[in-house]
Amino acid sequence: MSLLSCHDLDVSVADIPVARELNLQLREGEFWGLLGSNGIGKTTLLKCMAGLLAPDAGTIGIESRSMHEMSRKEIAQRLGMLQQHTVYLFDSSALQIALTGRHPHLKRWSREGNQDIILAQAALDAVGLGDFSNREVTTLSGGEARRLAFASLVVQDPEIMLLDEPTNHLDLRHQLRIMDIATQLVSGRNKVVVSALHDVNLAARYCSHILMLFGNGQWQAGACSEMLNGPSLERLYGCKVEAVETSHGPRFHPVGRGSEEVSSGSS
């Protein structure tokens, strides 16, 4: 079933087109990687899909409904987003922050119950913050704050999860940990994930589908195996990329210098 759909979506940021006439169906069980160079509009597109920014034209649908006729609360019960930056200004415990994921599911006057606390503690355990539940969040490291933000998204438990560079600030092991959790949610719980990523090899390893933003409104979407190859990545990033076959499938590494302009493939 299609969980999130874009119909003829035009998105731009500061008058620069991000995507023109974007048509996508994101179905349950799909893990989408959103790739593109810096400043191309990945965050803008994700915010648009989350209903935080209005598109120039077109509509976004959640399940069978149009997003703009849904309340924020109804959206939040179905769609959640990990933002690119996480800053905690006021002192709270990590458990309290994780519990905020329950906010859209609770009635105004009801408190978080034991069930909610169990969920939150499980999410903290899953991201490796199990022993941190009483820690003040203002004392967390960048990577820990990142994992905490992901944990509260897991507690929110929406069908549609938008991740804006989820592996920022994370060491290798925790990058895999977050991506593993996302994968489990996608395949085991029939969710859909859209994740902006800069690490092509993480995308190759985890994503089932890829959406590429080339700038000037151009985009391309499809199955991961068809989308990720040397020429398309060279067009995407403007630097030379070599594909290496491994036992896990193709992996990519940049060759040459970043300052070299790559002419091949750029249309």
């Binding site: 924020r72 609360k73 939040a76 002192d91 105004r108 203002t138």
Partner: protein, 325 residues
């Protein structure tokens, strides 16, 4: 939620009652516990008059003002996502002060001054509301800048009145500007404002928690933030206006008390707000009792005492926070 915060709120409530009793027993005629009980039982006796007609109303006014300002401070700090925001930062007290001093200058009788104060406060609120609303979505920065700039505009007008005003009313104006509960006559309205707003705020306390994590986060967690933020602005302004109409712009309570309470109990507004209300009331009753006894028979405006207590306390807090991070 553990029982610990609830116990602390109850403890603060008991201390509040105790502070009212204590405040009504000390002064130029100091009363022992038994004398105080006699005075309470016999309102018509000389001491009964002092307790019932002078000290209790004044202590009660101080408690109300402290409670109102503390809650307003909690709201402003979430609204502007700035732990250093206070109830006056957006100019509510400036408008109130301008209207009140203008009234004093042209010789309006003291009984009508609170009405002018409320009117000035609402003028300031509406001014900021309409200027900051503008087009496009909510912007906290625009609200902050509009508020701070109109506040300094009011400050300029107040200076003008002080510079041009008649000498014989300067002292009264100064007392009013510093914050003084000695003339406050709280009816039922301030208590009603406190209780109604407290009820609304407790109902939306979880939304405040979410909002404290940032406006975008709050929207992603299902809040209609634009409506929520304007509601918070109006509630906080109403609290401030009520407090200022009773006692003038008493400083520091609205800044320090939310802070201290947050340090003690954490940032969960379901606990923070009621605790800050109790603590704010207690803090101002103690401050006002000091204000009328330290230099007796002279009486100080309570705002001087809150500043004298507040500034070192606040610097201490800042220092502690620095050590922590």
């Amino acid at each position: 939620m553990s029982a610990h915060p609830r116990l602390l709120i109850i403890a603060l409530a008991i201390l509040s009652v105790f502070s009212l009793v204590f405040s009504s027993a000390v002064g130029s005629v100091a009363l022992s516990p038994s004398e105080w009980l006699e005075a309470i039982k016999h309102p018509d006796s000389a001491t009964g008059e002092v307790v019932w007609r002078l000290r209790l109303p004044r202590a009660w006014a101080a408690w109300l003002v402290g409670a109102l300002l503390a809650m307003s401070g909690c709201l402003m700090q979430v609204l502007l996502r700035n732990p250093l925001a206070d109830p006056y930062i957006l100019g509510v007290s400036g408008g109130a002060a301008f209207a009140t001093l203008l009234g004093m200058t042209i010789g309006i009788s003291a009984g009508f001054l609170p009405i002018l104060t409320i009117g000035g406060a609402f003028l300031a609120i509406l001014l900021v509301f309409s200027l900051a609303r503008g087009e496009g979505p909510w912007s906290g920065t625009r609200l902050l800048l509009t508020g701070v700039v109109t506040a300094s505009g009011w400050a300029a007008l107040i200076s003008l009145i002080l510079a041009l005003g008649p000498d014989n009313s300067l002292r009264g104006m100064l007392f009013w500007l510093l914050g003084d509960v000695s003339h406050a006559t709280p009816g039922l309205a301030p208590l009603a404002v406190l209780l109604v707003v407290l009820g609304v705020v407790i109902l939306m306390a979880r939304s405040l928690n979410v909002l404290a994590m940032g406006e975008t986060t709050a929207r992603l967690l299902g809040e209609n933030t634009e409506r929520l933020l304007w509601l918070i602005y109006l509630l906080a302004s109403l609290l401030t206006a009520t407090a200022v109409s009773l006692a003038g712009p008493v400083g520091f309570v609205g800044l320090i008390v939310p802070h201290l309470t947050r340090m003690l109990l954490g940032a969960d507004h379901r606990v923070l707000v009621p605790a800050a209300v109790m603590f704010g009331g207690l803090f101002l009753v103690v401050s006002d009792t000091l204000a009328r006894t330290i230099l007796a028979p002279r009486q100080l405006p309570v705002g001087v005492v809150t500043a004298v207590l507040g500034v070192p306390l606040f610097l201490l807090l800042l220092n502690r926070a620095k050590l922590k991070s």
